[in-house]
Structures are given as structure tokens and as C-alpha cells.
């Protein structure tokens, strides 16, 4: 790893520690500076509120002249984040990256992305379609995912809990059942039909 990337990551980690922002966290995964773990708190006023989202951050050799490679480790239901792989669609992580941006500003931008989705520039087409066509089902699903995967507090939607139990009782994995139910906006029959067909 180039010396400029290493020294910069060291300075960034120090700055984040000093900034004392409780809602974002970055730490080294190992002794190497090219592999980091990030964590952001879901912003309030969104379905992701108080969820803890883990991120994997890979620093390229050419950092900071090229963006870090960031993806969600914690599963999330969001139009601009793949519900399967956690890949993120965010301009500053691609062509709009600037060397003056830092990991801190990237994590803050991700928090902003959770607050303001861009359904017209989606990463996950299924989620984006639901976001546009059935906002109520989207909020319900995103909230349930936040509680299920990101440990967001609060009582879980009984309809979701019940349908997920029914699907998993039929012998399907919970994660796959949840994915199918979410994709079909919690229509149990359609979700089961989909699960049996594949």
C-alpha cells in the first residue's frame, strides 16, 4: 500500500476518534490499512432509525485519488442498496469522488442516503419499484429489516412476524423467506409460490 494512502488513513482514523461523533464508527479489520470496518446508525425519522449498519471498506492502492470500495455488511431494504449483496449506488463512491472527501464524509453521505433515497437511480430495482408503487409496504419492509438485521429497537410488525413464521415453517430458510415476502409486498401466497418455483 502506498505511503500516502497509509498516512492518510491513519490521520482519518485519528480525526474520527477526535470528532466524537457517536453515529459513525471506523476501525481497522486487521493490521493492514486497506481493510476497514465501518458502522453507521440509521438516521432518525426514517425506517432505519437506530439500526446499526456494518459496512466493509476497502482502500485501493491509489487512495485518496480513487474512492474507497464500500458495501453494506448488514442487510438493508433501500432503493440504492442491493438487498442481496449490499452494493451501494452513490455517486461520490464512483465518478463524483474527490480526493478531499474522507471516510468520515463518505459515512455521513451514506447516512444522508438513508434519509433521502434516489429511486430513479436504483441499485435494487425490486426495492425501487416498491418504493415508488407501494410506499406503505416499503416503509413496513424497511422497518422490519432494520429490526431483523440491524437490531433497531421497537415492537415488530405482527403481520410480518406471523407471515415469516409461516413461510419458515414450510421449510424455507428465514432469510430467503423474508426476501420473498419483502419482494412480494408481504403477499404470503405469492411469496410461497415464488419460493416453491425456484
Amino acid at each position: 500500500m502506498s505511503s500516502i494512502a497509509t498516512t492518510r488513513i491513519q490521520r482519518e482514523l485519528k480525526d474520527i476518534k477526535e470528532s466524537n461523533n457517536q453515529s459513525i464508527k471506523i476501525e481497522l479489520k486487521s493490521d493492514e490499512f486497506n481493510n476497514l470496518r465501518g458502522e453507521i446508525v440509521g438516521p432518525s425519522g426514517t425506517p432505519y432509525q437506530d439500526g446499526m449498519y456494518k459496512l466493509s471498506i476497502k482502500i485501493p492502492e491509489t487512495y485518496p485519488f480513487n474512492p474507497p470500495i464500500v458495501s453494506f455488511d448488514t442487510r438493508i431494504w433501500h432503493p440504492n442498496i442491493s438487498s442481496v449483496t449490499g452494493a451501494i449506488c452513490l455517486d461520490i463512491l464512483k465518478d463524483q469522488w474527490a480526493a478531499a472527501l474522507t471516510l468520515r464524509t463518505v459515512l455521513l453521505s451514506l447516512q444522508a442516503l438513508l434519509s433521502a433515497a434516489e429511486p430513479d437511480d436504483p441499485q435494487d430495482a425490486v426495492v425501487a419499484k416498491q418504493y415508488k408503487d407501494n410506499q406503505k409496504a416499503f416503509v413496513k419492509t424497511a422497518r422490519f429489516w432494520a429490526q431483523y438485521y440491524a437490531n433497531a429497537p421497537g415492537p415488530r410488525d405482527t403481520d410480518c412476524v406471523e407471515k415469516l413464521r409461516k413461510a419458515s415453517e414450510m421449510g424455507f430458510y428465514k432469510d430467503i423467506s423474508l426476501q420473498a415476502l419483502s419482494t412480494h409486498s408481504w403477499d404470503l401466497e405469492n411469496a410461497i409460490q415464488y419460493l416453491t418455483s425456484c
Binding site: 500516502i4 498516512t7 492518510r8 485519488f65 480513487n66 474527490a98 480526493a99 478531499a100
Partner: protein, 194 residues
């Protein structure tokens, strides 16, 4: 009575400066009407003798205005009296009570000079700004101390030279604002750090 003792200065910040005397109200009115359509010159009427002569001060005013070199010694506080005409109150206030006027003038001076002193003392005590190169995040003062150069881009953003050089080579744009940059798009700057 000396001339300087008698003269009083009325100043308009953006408009013509009028120098008034303890003249009669009639004269004052004439002075104001004359100066309202005049330029931003300073007019000085010095002595009561001139005031008593209705012709002399007018001629003198014209002369001074055409010369444009009228001088009022403001270093001696006792010789002139400053009245701010930007506030309408001082325009309409009858100049009968000279002591009151003087107090006002003194008050005006203290109020305008006070914030300036505050600002100066604040500048003296405030800590030096922490400036970092946005690319390597190294403090600029340590970059300078290490004998390395600081650069500014044409778009006005500041970096250490090695960083901006590499940024231009790899990205061809400003690391801060993403403006397109070439090798000619930045230059050394020399900060006057003591």
C-alpha cells in the same frame, strides 16, 4: 476666540461633509441647501467674523470646493466638534446647547471606536487557524517547516505541492471542487507566516 475654538464639523458619511458654526439658524439652512446638491467636499466655516458677514463665507466655500483641498485638523480634539449627520436626530437638533452637542460627539466617537478595539484584541489572542492539506491531511505549517511548497489551484483551493501534482496527474481535476485541471492549473503560494 481663535478660529479653531469656534469651528464645529458636521459630517455625513456618504454625503457632503458640512461644517457648521454656532451661526444663526438662517445661515445653517442656507449651508445645508447648498451642500445637499454639492459633491463630497468638506466645507469649513471658521470664524464668527465670517458668519457675521453674509457674503464672505459663501465665497470662501466656493473657493474651497473648487480647490478640493480643504483641510480640517482632526488630530486635535479640542479644535473641532464631530457630529454625525447620518442619524437624522443630529440634523434636526438645534445647535443651541453646545456642551450637549460635544458630549454627543464624544459619545459617538467612543461607540464607533469600541468594536474596533474589541476586534483587534480578539485578533491578538485568537489561536492560529488549523489548516491541513485536504489530500494528505498534513497540517500546512508542518509542510512549510519541512521545506515543502504550498500550492493554490486556479480555482483557489490549497494543497501541498506533492499532493496537487499527483492529483492532477491521476485525476486531472481539483481534489476539492472537481474542476478540470492541468499541470498549469496550480502554482506555488508564499504564505506570510512569521
Amino acid at each position: 476666540m481663535t478660529q479653531s475654538d469656534e469651528s464645529s464639523l458636521i459630517s455625513l458619511t456618504d454625503e457632503p461633509l458640512v461644517v457648521d458654526l454656532n451661526a444663526r439658524r438662517r445661515r445653517r439652512r442656507r449651508i445645508r441647501s447648498t451642500t445637499s446638491n454639492g459633491s463630497g467636499d468638506v466645507i469649513v466655516i471658521d470664524s464668527p467674523a465670517e458668519v457675521s458677514n453674509p457674503v464672505a463665507p459663501r465665497r470662501r466655500r466656493r473657493q474651497r470646493r473648487s480647490n478640493g483641498d480643504s483641510v480640517v485638523d482632526l488630530t486635535c480634539n479640542d479644535s473641532v466638534e464631530l457630529v454625525d449627520l447620518t442619524t437624522p436626530a443630529s440634523l434636526i437638533r438645534p445647535p443651541l446647547n453646545r456642551t450637549q452637542k460635544r458630549t454627543d460627539a464624544a459619545g459617538l466617537i467612543t461607540t464607533t471606536s469600541a468594536p474596533r478595539q474589541d476586534l483587534l484584541s480578539h485578533e491578538d489572542t485568537s489561536p492560529i487557524l488549523k489548516l491541513n492539506c485536504p489530500v494528505c491531511l498534513e497540517p500546512l505549517h508542518s509542510v512549510i517547516r519541512a521545506g515543502r511548497k504550498i500550492c493554490s489551484t486556479v480555482c483557489g483551493h490549497i494543497f501541498c505541492r506533492s499532493c496537487i501534482k499527483q492529483a492532477v496527474r491521476t485525476c486531472k481535476k481539483c481534489p476539492t471542487c472537481r474542476k478540470k485541471l492541468t499541470e498549469k492549473g496550480f502554482h506555488d503560494i508564499f504564505l506570510p507566516i512569521s
